[in-house]
Each structure stands twice: as C-alpha cells, then as structure tokens.
C-alpha cells in the first residue's frame, strides 16, 4: 500500500502564474496586452492628474494656475460644510459626537454576540441622547445647549440618521406586511398587497414629493410636521415595501412541515410565527435584506431634491454659491463618492461575512 503523503511544494514562479492567467492562449494574450496598454494609459493620466500635479493646499490662486491637476484644496477648504451641512460652526462638535455614538451603536448591533435583549435597551437609551445632542433640547427639556432646528442638520450625520432610523423602523413594519400578505384573511392580504405593489411601482422621488407636499395637506389644521420627519416617514414607507418582499421570500422558503409541527404542539399562530417561522425566514434572507440596507443608504442622497442637505446636497451647498471654488466641483464629487463607496462596500463585505457565519452554523 502506498501511504498518503503531502503535496509537493509547487514552486510556481510569478512568471508561470502570469503566463497561466494572462497569456494562456493567443486570444487571452491579445486581450491582456490591449487591456494592459489601456490601463497603463488611463492609470498614468489619472495618477498624474490626481496625485502628481495635484494641489493639496486650500489656495484658490494656486489651484487655478496653469498645469495644475486636481485641486484637493477644495476639500481642505470646504470639508466642514460638505460633511456637516449648515449646522452652526461653533456647535459642530455636537453632530460629530452624536454620529460617532450612532455609528458605535450600529457597529455593536452588527456583531452576533451582541444580539441580546439588552441591545434594544441600548438603542432606547442611545437614540434620545442622539436627538438631545443634535437638537439641543429633548421633549421640551432644555439641555443647556443652543437649540438647532432640524432643517439645519446636514451632511454625513444626516445621511447616517436617515438610513439607520428608516431601516430600524421599516424592518418591523416589513415583517408585519409580509405576514399580512400571506394571511388567509382576504381583506388583510389585499390591503398589504396593494400597499406593497403601489409603493414598489413608483420611484422614490414621487414618494418624497408626496411626503413633502401632500403630508402637510393631510394633517389637521394647526399641526405642523417637521421636514425631517416627513422625509423620514416617506423613506420608511418606501423601504418597508421592498423589505416586505424580501421577507415574504424568506417566509415562503420555510418548509410547510415546520408550521404543521408547531400546530401539532399546540402553538398559536402568533407563537408559531415568532418562535418557529420568523427566525428561520429572516436568517434565510439576511443577505437580501442587507442589500436593501445598502440601497436605502444610497437612496438618502435623493432627499437633496426636497431640500434637505445630506451629503450630496451639502456639497452642492458648499460649492454652488462660491464662484471661487465652483470650478473644482469634480474633486468634491470624488471626495463624497469615496465616502459613499467606503460605507456601502463595508456593508456588502459585512453581508458576505454574515452569510459565511450562518453557513457555518447550519451545514447543509
């Protein structure tokens, strides 16, 4: 009998790796050559414009000089407005602290080991602190800070706020609506279906317009509603419809036998859903839900159109009215594109990590 032995150390040099992956045959080789040339051309020009000939100091005259590439000085000059919107300059430490708190809460919620009941308590404590810091007063109680109205909130903190609060509110609503769509009571099923199909059939912009222009008309006289709240309601209702579809897919994936087994054990409908069906359904579609989270994060950029200056809008605010720095808007766009990319890419990597974790737990 030949005993097993370990594989020989394949001293595959980088040369042979390059040959195998890039030049395996004539067509592949040709494509590699063409692509490398194009990449080289584009890459060197980009590097030249973006780094070598770039101007890093916030000096308008230097940026406008001939032969200068990208002007990253616009970021150095305007970063406070871009990142924090119209929040009063002296009080800008408050959105920074509040957002860090929110980010910390979010990060903690991402780790499986923290999925305990006291996480909800943490959120219930953290959110009032957040709003208190940002607003300066809480439910009428003054906190010794200058009051800052919601229409002055802006930039990255606003993006984070809109995304996290709408996701947090939309998810339970989505679960209820998804359960409603599968209900045996025709009226409930019809109501939920109409809601989902209606909202999914229209663009977010029209929902935001509705929230912005029509909500004030719907409310009884004398009751005015915050711009931020209107937008939040709009985004939440929009997000809930899409999430409801994802959750519904998860509910359908739970085998019928589970419900039958629960029924034979004497569990009521609500108990079955809470303890048997929903845990399995939600874990099954967690990647799909996280995709939705990324979409909502990107969609917050649309509130610019209803005059709330989150990150994208704040950039316009910073540069549109300043004739000196306006020619360098492209650099500003690249800056916030990088910020969005960082957040969204991290969330999608997190989603892959969660998928792997769940697969480890349920080897099938």
């Amino acid at each position: 009998m030949i005993p097993a032995r370990p594989a020989p150390f394949t001293s595959a040099t980088w040369l042979s790796a390059v040959r195998q992956h890039l030049f395996a045959d004539w067509n592949t080789g040709l494509a590699s050559v063409v692509l490398l040339l194009l990449l080289g051309y584009a890459g060197t020009h980009l590097l030249d414009w973006g780094m070598l000939r770039a101007q890093w100091m916030p000096d308008v005259a230097a940026c406008r000089a001939d032969g200068v590439g990208a002007c990253w000085g616009v970021v150095a000059e305007k970063y406070r407005v871009i990142l924090l919107g119209r929040y009063p300059l002296e009080e800008q430490w408050r959105p920074v602290v509040a957002s860090s708190l929110l980010l910390a809460l979010l990060l903690v919620s991402c780790l499986r080991s923290f999925w305990r009941p006291w996480l909800a308590v943490l959120w219930l404590l953290g959110l009032p602190i957040y709003f208190g810091l940002m607003k300066g007063h809480l439910w009428g109680l003054s906190l010794g800070l200058t009051a800052v109205d919601t229409d002055r909130w802006g930039g990255l903190p606003l993006t984070l706020l809109l995304s996290s609060v709408s996701i947090a509110l939309a998810l339970p609503l989505a679960v209820l609506v998804a359960l409603g769509r599968r209900s045996e009571l025709p009226a409930i099923r019809a109501l939920c279906s109409v809601y989902v199909e209606l909202v999914r059939g229209v663009p977010l912009i029209s929902v935001l317009f509705m929230a912005s222009f029509m909500l004030p008309l719907f409310l009884p006289q004398g009751l005015t509603i915050d711009v931020l709240l209107r937008v939040l309601v709009g985004i939440t209702l929009f997000a809930a419809a899409y999430m409801a579809e994802v959750v519904r897919g998860g509910l359908q994936a739970v085998p019928r036998g589970q419900v039958e087994a629960a029924a034979s054990l004497g569990l009521s409908w609500w108990q079955t859903q809470r303890h048997v069906v929903l845990p399995q359904a939600l874990t099954a579609v967690l990647p799909g839900l996280v995709n939705n989270f990324i979409a909502i994060f990107k969609d917050t950029s649309l509130v610019t159109i209803v005059s709330l200056y989150e990150l994208t809008g704040a950039l316009g605010l910073a540069l549109n009215s300043d004739a000196d720095w306006r020619p360098f808007k492209l650099e500003g766009y690249v800056f916030i594109a990088l910020i969005y990319f960082l957040f969204c890419f991290s969330i999608s990597r997190y989603s892959l990590w969660v998928e792997r974790q769940l697969a480890l737990g349920n080897p099938s």
């Binding site: 592949t28 025709p186 610019t304 766009y333 594109a337």
Partner: protein, 312 residues
C-alpha cells in the same frame, strides 16, 4: 355556521372588519383634512387644469412644445421623454451588463478583475451622485458650441449630439440629443449595467456544473459553451431579476429632475409649483409609473413563458 367570538372564522371576520374600518376612518380623516386645508389655501382641486395653457417651455421632446399648449400635452411630452431614456437605457444596459457578467467567467485574470471592479464601484455609489458627475464632466469636457467635434453629419458639442443636414435647401439639426439626455442615459446605463452583470453572473453560476463539463468534454471552447449551452439555460433564471432591473431603470429615470432633463416627474414638478395642485400632479406621476411597471411585467412574463424548458 354560528358566528361567534370564539370560532376562528368568526375572529377572522372580526379582524378584517376592524382593519377595513380603520382604513376607511383614516382615509376619511385624511381626505377631510386635505379638503379643508386646500380650501384654506385657496387651492382648487380637479383635473381641469390639464386643459389650460402650460405657460412654460420644454427644452426637448418627441415633438416641439411651446408655452401656449396645454398641461396635458406637457405631461405627454414628459412621458415621451421618460420612455426615450428608459428604452435606450434598457437596451444599452442589457448589452453592457451581459458582457460584464460573462466576463466574470473569463480565463483571463485581468478581464475577471476588471469586471468585478466595475461592478463594485458602480454599485456602491449613489445614482444621483453618478448622474451629477457625468453631467458635470460632459459640461466640462465637451467642446464649445462653435467648435464642435464632427464626424460626417454628426456634430458633438456642449449643445449635444446633432445630426446636421447640410443639403442645399435645409440647414440645421435634423435630430439632436441634448447633453442632459446623454448624461442621464449614460449614468443610468453604467449604473444599471453593474446590477445586470450580477444578475447574469448569478444565472450562469446556477446552471448545473455538469453542463459545463459536458461542453468541455465535447471540445466546445469556453465562448462556444457560454453562447450555446450556458447562457440559454441561464436565461430562464435571469429573466425575473432582469425584469426588476428594467423597472428600476425606468423608475430611476425620475432623477432627471436633478439635472434638468424634462421627464414626466420634472414636468409634474413644474406644473405642481405653478398650479399648486399637488394631489393631482403626484397622482398622475404615480399612475404613469404604475402603468409602465405593469406593462413591463406583462411583457417579461410572456417572454418567460416562451423560453420555458419543454418538459413531459
């Protein structure tokens, strides 16, 4: 059947009645508030404003529109503009997205990496931001109107892409694509192509491995296997999510309002600001998009039935 509080069917009816009651009360409450508020602000209601003169210009469209024509015609022009962008975008995004999705299976490492990088970059940046960037770049990089780039009858400048007729009796643009149209179509195409690439990739990956092996054993090249064996089978898996992407593209075209392209949302916005008839204008927009969604879904369902596998 005795309707009692205890029986399940009795309770079911009760719940439904309660839900319907709540909805109706809510609806009545909102409607009466709206009526009151509108009366307070002197806003009239009704769709009759559609037949009055619009009082604004529309920069481009399938037919010329001037300010004396009705709001109804303005909405139609906007609808035409939306359809123009949506159809162009869908066709181009499908082509590009399929190439990118198939490219993720290339033997060439460089091609695979570039396709993956494209998908990651364009999926993780908001569409609005991408549109604003493309609009800015087109505005800056296109040559000035009086020094256009020409290729035969085509002319490219900051005024757009135009087909100029230089015949003896007619000087001028036969048709033109505005820079707004180009920026919107370009942005929508590049963005949606990244999502379509993912849909195509997932579809091809879902085809059973044995099909790839059988193709290889028969001597088919990777390209031949992709074209004749893998993609046709992947098509069945791809169609529902692809439909979703087409609908998304159509709805995303509403972002035209941010770069000044006169699509139906943009026109509705102008009309809303001028007449104050928020409910009617928004309802019109929603009706337009709901009909488009329905139509697209019907078409794709029909195509789906056609490509279904023949079974016993």
């Amino acid at each position: 059947m005795r309707l009692s509080w205890r029986s399940a069917s009795g309770r079911g009816l009760l719940y439904q009645a309660a839900a319907l009651l709540v909805v109706m009360v809510l609806g009545w409450f909102l409607a009466s508030n709206t009526a009151y508020n509108m009366a307070q602000r002197g806003i009239q209601s009704g769709f009759d404003f559609l037949w009055g003169p619009a009082g604004f210009e529309i920069g481009e469209g399938l037919f010329n529109f001037d300010s004396t024509q009705s709001y109804a015609l303005a909405f139609l022009t906007g609808l035409g503009n939306t359809v123009r962008v949506a159809v162009t975008g869908i066709v181009m995004a499908t082509l590009l997205g399929t190439l990118l999705g198939v490219g993720r299976f290339s033997r060439n490492l460089l091609v695979r990496v570039l396709c993956s990088a494209y998908v990651e970059v364009f999926r993780n940046i908001p569409l609005l931001l991408q549109l604003l960037m493309w609009y800015l770049m087109l505005a800056e990089l296109l040559p000035a109107v009086d020094t256009p780039m020409t290729l035969g009858p085509l002319e490219l400048s900051k005024g757009g892409l135009m087909w100029i007729s230089r015949s003896a009796h007619e000087e001028g643009a036969l048709w033109a694509l505005s820079p707004e149209f180009m920026a919107l179509t370009l942005g929508l195409t590049l963005y949606t192509a990244a999502f379509i690439a993912e849909v195509v990739r997932a579809g091809v990956a879902a085809v059973p491995r044995g099909q790839k092996e059988a193709s290889a054993a028969l001597g088919l090249s990777r390209l031949q296997a992709m074209r004749h064996v893998l993609l046709p089978q992947a098509l069945r898996i791809i169609i529902p999510p692809m439909t979703n992407q087409y609908l998304n593209l159509t709805k995303n075209s509403s972002l035209a309002v941010a770069i000044g392209y006169p699509d139906v949302v943009s026109i509705a916005n102008t009309a809303l600001n001028q007449t104050g008839r928020a409910v009617e204008c928004i309802a019109l927009v929603m009706a337009v998009y709901l009909c488009t969604s329905l139509l697209t879904a019907l078409l794709m369902n029909a195509y789906n039935r056609r490509v279904a596998l023949q079974e016993r």
